[in-house]
């Protein structure tokens, strides 16, 4: 007999992707901290490096070293062991991450057998595209291509792998639908990206520690910069959302003559956070779930189109390397769904860093991840804000438009809609900041040996795990994106509302507001400290 218990504040802690993103990422983060006590249990996390078929004499790029365990470079206590792993780190990562994700899948009552099968295929396809994308012809820049014996390279950095993963995923999702449906149990871009975003919290907290090793001043600058992004992102998103939503609502109602509820759900879906907002708003206005589902299907497809267009546009047309954080913040406000946005931010990060390096002939290098962080920061704020906005809409709908006798809106709705992975993101970030400012003595030289142990743990998580989960996101985003959905007749009107609102209203406003709050922010130059 089924039980119908009250929904408590902790309901869903073991049965939702949101919470499982937190458990998995924070779990590995804590395990990584054991490095402080000399126990390195995360050095096996795999990472690719650029390769060529025939490396030049004395040059780089042997295929045998194309994947390595990050502990080889960063471990303090087990460097030798992790050095020996080489390509085996791919298998170690498969088994350990696969096991962690399967525990999550089982707790969420997914079909475990199907999940393991799907994940195995997705994982190894991801590794294959990661490997191919790191061929020096694709990933090298004109600054470092000579090390691999090349006279020409595509200058894509790590972005090439992401694009490749997305393309492979899209081919499967659009041309091999039976296969895509088999993989669907494990093609969960949103779960992977939420996990990756929590590890991005590790990255943000680790950034000052990393730069301290170069100079204490740079470390402090990095801590200040991330905090600035936090504040500017909050202000920008609140302003943007309060302009986006009514704008799209009016366009839907007045120009496209849609009913109130549909317009409200579209308003949220197109405005910023896509599917989660469409579901939240659909619930808030008591729409039939089909409204949210239709809007969601559109959101997912349009988000991928944005992901393909915007990073290149921002890098090569405007604002280019002059205002990388305006581009990042605008991306966060313009690209729907956490997965597509974080992915677009990561792509932008790769493109921008590669571009500045090429433009200045290696004289300027930016630390990786800050531009991604700027794109995710605005998104994280909006994910939180939607819960409050949905509550406001629920009050208006329940008490104004559709007054029903005795109906109340429980305030607990705000918490139930709160994106829980955000807690993990902030937790990891602030935990590492506390280590940096506390025992790390703000990067003072005498604290360096201690900070090095923190680094040994943090790097595999913020670099290896994060990038792998980004790759999984790109691949599975492609797999679940079926462009045919846009052609279905019943979506006709909504497809046009979406197109008009997105390109005529949302993206320009996002860029303007991103500019107002982030113009002139600069990234630290680390060229003199890195090879």
């Amino acid at each position: 007999m089924a039980q119908y218990p009250e929904r408590k504040w902790y309901t869903g802690m073991l049965s939702t992707e949101d919470w499982w993103a937190v458990w998995i990422a924070v779990g590995f983060f804590f395990i990584s901290l054991l490095n402080i006590w000399g126990i390195d249990l995360v050095g096996w996390m795999t990472y690719p490096t650029k390769w060529v078929f025939s490396p030049p004499e004395g040059g780089k790029g042997a295929i045998g070293h194309a994947f390595y365990a990050l502990g080889k470079k960063y471990s303090v206590t087990a460097k030798g062991f992790y050095k020996g792993l080489g390509w085996w780190s791919v298998i170690w990562s498969y088994v350990i991450f696969g096991a962690a994700l399967t525990i999550g899948a089982a707790s969420m009552k997914w079909n475990v057998k199907k999940f393991i099968g799907g994940f195995t295929i997705i994982y190894f396809m991801t590794i294959a595209t990661w490997f191919i994308g790191h061929h020096a012809f694709i990933a090298a820049t004109k600054v470092n291509m000579h090390k691999y014996g090349l006279n020409f390279a595509l200058n894509l950095g790590g972005g090439g792998s992401f694009i490749l993963a997305l393309i492979v995923g899209l081919i499967i999702g659009n041309f091999f639908k039976g296969f895509a449906s088999y993989l669907s149990e494990a093609a969960k871009p949103e779960w992977y990206i939420k996990t990756a975003i929590v590890t991005l919290g590790v990255k943000l907290g680790y950034l000052p520690i990393k730069l301290s090793a170069m100079s204490q001043k740079l470390g402090k600058e990095a801590a200040g910069l991330t905090f600035d992004l936090f504040v500017a992102g909050a202000a920008a998103t609140v302003v943007a959302y309060l302009i986006f939503w009514p704008g799209v609502y009016v366009i839907s109602r007045k120009i496209f003559k849609l009913p109130r509820k549909t317009a409200a759900v579209l308003g949220s879906g197109i405005s910023i956070c896509g599917v989660s907002a469409a579901v939240a708003t659909g619930g808030a206005v008591r729409a039939k779930p089909v409204v949210s589902i239709m809007v969601s299907a559109l959101v997912v497809v349009w988000a991928v189109i944005e992901l393909v267009i915007l990073p290149g546009f921002f890098t090569h047309v405007w604002p280019g390397t002059k205002d990388p954080l305006v581009a990042g913040a605008s991306m966060g406000m313009a690209v729907k769904t956490d997965g597509a946005d974080a992915a677009a931010g990561e792509l932008l990060d790769e493109f921008m860093r590669t571009k500045i390096e090429v433009e200045t002939n290696g004289a300027v290098k930016w630390p990786e991840g800050i531009i991604t962080a700027s794109a995710v920061m605005t998104k994280v704020w909006i994910d939180m804000f939607i819960g409050i906005w949905a509550f406001v809409l629920a009050l208006i709908w329940v008490y104004k438009f559709e007054r029903r006798e005795g109906e109340r809106v429980p305030a607990s709705e705000v918490w139930h809609r709160f994106p829980k992975f955000v807690i993990g993101y902030f937790f990891c970030w602030f935990f590492l900041l506390a280590i940096y400012f506390g025992p790390g003595q703000s990067g003072a030289p005498e604290a360096m040996p201690f900070l090095k142990t923190v680094k040994a743990g943090a790097v595999p998580v913020e670099k290896g795990m994060r990038k792998l989960f980004f790759m999984l996101t790109f691949m599975s985003l492609g797999i679940i994106t079926d462009f045919k959905k846009l052609r279905e007749a019943q979506f006709g009107k909504m497809v046009w509302v979406y197109f008009v609102a997105l390109f005529g209203f949302i993206i320009p406003v996002a860029i303007l507001i991103g500019y107002l709050f982030h113009h002139g922010m600069t990234l630290p130059n680390i060229a003199q400290y890195v090879k």
């Binding site: 009514p246 239709m294 279905e488």
Partner: protein
């Protein structure tokens, strides 16, 4: 009961294709004053947030 729910969870019982969407797209209500209030209120809140934000946020173009 639990079994039945599990089945639903596997595929998702609702898809856009399976449902007639007519009533979702048609039958727009008259524009009401509450909507004006909601839209205008939201824009006004945006302007207030923009002004306060520009003053308080150290990286805004006012600084």
């Amino acid at each position: 009961m639990a079994e039945e729910k599990k089945e639903i969870s596997g595929t998702g019982s609702l898809t856009g294709e399976a449902l007639e969407a007519e009533d979702v797209l048609a039958g727009a209500e008259e524009w009401s004053s509450t909507e004006t209030w909601l839209v205008v209120g939201s824009f006004i809140a945006a302007i207030i947030a923009l002004v306060i934000g520009m003053i308080l946020v150290p990286t805004s173009i006012l600084h």
